[in-house]
Point group: C3
Chain length 141, copies 3
């Protein structure tokens, strides 16, 4: 089973896609298996991060922005805007695909609070500034 | 097949989990397939590295510690200790999941010395300082 | 199905392996599935990047070379040459395995120009300077 999840982004940052992905998987008849996510882009990426404290995502983003500055004097690939080359670098440093086991019909993300489902969230990390729609493929077997 | 491997860690650093994982896979009746590892945490990660020279792991750890310093003045997410936010960043820069082919009933890790099995080792990279137990899921198909 | 793709490299840099991998997958009778790539090395890695503008790969390589300098005074693991330890670090920061869905018998890489097939290319990133042959395993299910 492969389905496409379209993610609307309003600009740079970590967009939580845990719910659309876990809902999609929960709706299929797969008791035990593997869910592989693949993002069809090279200026946005995937990352699993703590989904409880927004400050953790804020710091993560700030830190990476400092490591990979949007300063055209650092790059030769500048025709697509000052955020394009940094976006490619950030994508290379994070993930294009992630494989997550499915147990008991649910994605086996780590949790420390079962009722709230908090801990490991799945995020699409948009590295560019303009709004748009990003495509994530979800393979389930 | 999905099984959980509990990894006891005594603090920050690269913990070799090659043997428990390859033993688990070798004990199953899978001649050819794919083994996917998934760590259920956001402050520890997975990495495949040279398992022959301990100096390579030492340098790797030192280098990342310098890149992502445990300096609370750099972060806003500081309530869980000075090593927590750097641990999240380090996890985002390394891997939460890794897929490794299985050939002839064994994980197809690269080797240059077949008898010693040295070259590619599988490591759980603990990014926090306190001891504890980390959970790695092993999916085999 | 698991096959090995041998990649001849002439030195450091991003080597495009999109064609050998997509040709291999297209030649198999798999309408829908998952293709997992795994590189059997710890001083070379895999990355999906834009395959249209060579300047993007040039900048990516330059940026990582600056982040992880080949300066022996920074490392203790120096017996295998000044490019060895940086190669291990660069491998840890990029990917050892990538999972890519297969749809309609083809790898579902992102494209913005279907006729040219440009956008997401699969690259073997050689981090060492000497020429050689690197092994990539291709698992298809």
């Amino acid at each position: 089973m492969i389905e496409q999840v379209d993610v609307k982004v309003n600009g740079q940052g970590l967009h939580d896609i845990t719910k659309p992905v876990t809902d999609l998987v929960a709706g299929k008849d797969v008791a035990e298996g593997l869910c592989t996510l693949f993002i069809q882009h090279t200026s946005a990426s995937l990352v699993i991060q703590e989904n409880y404290e927004p400050s953790a995502r804020y710091d993560l983003e700030q830190w990476l922005n400092k490591l990979v500055p949007e300063d055209p004097s650092l790059y030769t690939h500048t025709t697509e805007g000052p955020d394009d080359m940094p976006a490619h670098i950030k994508s290379a440093l994070t993930s294009t695909s992630i494989g997550i086991p499915v147990i008991g019909g649910k994605m086996a993300l780590g949790t420390w609070h079962l009722a709230l489902g908090t801990w490991q969230g799945i995020f699409l990390w948009e590295h560019r500034h303009h709004p748009g729609t990003r495509k994530v493929l979800v393979h389930l077997s």
